[in-house]
């Protein structure tokens, strides 16, 4: 197993534990925006898609790589925007009761 791969496993395990710790106490109200925000973060695969496109060789690879960039960008841009829209409504909390 290469050194880089082992380093990857270390990073993966530690990041997973951080993910567990950061999320475990979140109020129900925020579950939808949290899910949507986390979903946008999973669009990090956009980095892989860009690298795959950059050096794609041949028509098939180019098409797959282009699709990868399109899909990942939809995930990232749409995900962050829609989360922001949801949270904007939470912020506008009318204290004008009574």
């Amino acid at each position: 197993m290469s050194e880089l791969f082992v380093q990857g496993i270390v990073v993966f395990v530690l990041a997973a534990f951080v993910g567990f710790e950061v999320i475990s106490k979140v109020p129900q109200t925020l579950h939808t925006p949290l899910m949507s925000g986390a979903n946008a973060i999973s669009g990090i695969t956009i980095v892989g898609a860009i690298l795959a496109s950059a050096f794609a060789d041949g028509a098939a690879a180019t098409i797959l790589a282009l699709l990868a960039v399109v899909f990942a960008t939809i995930n990232v841009v749409g995900g962050f925007l829609v989360t922001d829209r949801m949270l904007e409504m939470f912020k506008r909390k009318p204290a004008k009761k009574e």
């Binding site: 197993m1 791969f5 380093q7 993966f12 395990v13 990041a15 997973a16 951080v18 993910g19 567990f20 950061v22 999320i23 979140v26 109020p27 129900q28 109200t29 579950h31 939808t32 949290l34 949507s36 925000g37 986390a38 979903n39 946008a40 973060i41 999973s42 669009g43 695969t45 956009i46 980095v47 892989g48 898609a49 860009i50 690298l51 795959a52 496109s53 950059a54 050096f55 794609a56 060789d57 098939a60 690879a61 180019t62 797959l64 790589a65 699709l67 399109v70 899909f71 939809i74 841009v77 749409g78 995900g79 829609v82 829209r85 949801m86 904007e88 409504m89 912020k91 909390k93 009318p94």
Partner: protein, 457 residues
Amino acid sequence: MTTTTLLYLLAGVLFIIGLRGLGSPRTARRGNLIAAVGMLVAVLVTVASIIDDTGVMWWTIGAGLIIGGAIGAVFAVRVQMTGMPQLVAAFNGFGGGASALVAATEILATDGDFATETGVTVALSIAIGVVTFSGSFIAYGKLQGLITGRPMSLPGGPWFNAVLAAISLGVGIWAVWSGDPTAYWILAGVTFVLGITAVVAIGGADMPVVISLLNSFSGVAAAMAGFVIGNQALIIGGALVGAAGLILTIQMSEAMNRSLANVLFAGFGTEGAAAFDAGDRPVNRASPDDVAISLAYAQNVMVVPGYGLAVAQAQHAVRDLATALEERGINVEYAIHPVAGRMPGHMNVLLAEADVPYEQLLDLDHSNPRMANTDVVLVVGANDVVNPSARDDASSPIYGMPILEVDTARTAVVVKRSLSPGFAGIDNPLFYEESTMMLFSDAKAGLEEVIAALKEL
């Protein structure tokens, strides 16, 4: 290389700070922004790392970013709050699909000639990414009403998917062992079908859990793609989302008092749906005037929203009714079940859109003790989450699920289009209680009529 990796670490740290911010109402919006900045950093660093290379296909990258960005932005801006769960499902599917495609381009580039451990991660990115892709779009179809919300029974029941999963595993092992690209493509085909059959077998009421699990999957797929191309940013971001999604999924299954395995494999509600028969039991059919009168003479009113409210876009009507009642000095609160709607926290988002103050939203533990002191509970488009058989009937498929005990209030008013069972396909004894009034109407139209009747009083 070193600088690039360090800047990827910065992006990862921004993701963690952002996720942390998303966990609290006050910091949530900033948290989302911080995570988005992290993503921007990751993209810019990636572009910078290849800017001096020759032969980079910039047009592919540029075209992809522009097309994807435009599609994502249009959908994000246009969607109505009620359609949010579907949209998140769709975005999620695209993310999973992208990770699978990244792995696929690696297969093309190397002709399947990987070290064993890399081969394993290629197979996992393909399998998990493709399941996420096809499964998310089936979830989208169910939530959008394009596909029936009922769990579809497959030949052989849960064994069908178990066999398909075993085949996927076998093909995956074959692919890694032989390094034959064809094996990877077959793996993609089998897992595509598996994503479809796994999700069609799950009832619409369980879609929140499914979307959350698929969200976790899309993270894992991204992390696996990170291993394939040796990129730490993907590994960090993917692992974070994988873990966060899994926590949310477990929390939601617990809210329904079921194990995750039960949600995924039980084909919940198939038998109840077939057995349902309203018979000729009497119900108290109420007019909007009847409802207005009982509300007008109440002191404490509790609103229980459900998916029907989302479908009818009735959140503003609910808010208007609450305002009208508050003007009469009546105390109005909202009881939100953890799995009301089609997504965790779905109702909170809708009511927030209608400017309902955050403090008036009560969760299960806080609302149930208040029911006995509540004069009128107004159930708007909710069904399974107020079904007393979850508490009383050990033979009910939802037995043991915590419910909002609206039958303990003095009067329950149920606004619903018909007596038909909810997504779980189970009859609801609440509708036949003597203290229950049924207002058969679309949620929005019905509430507007009640408001009008209230003004006449």
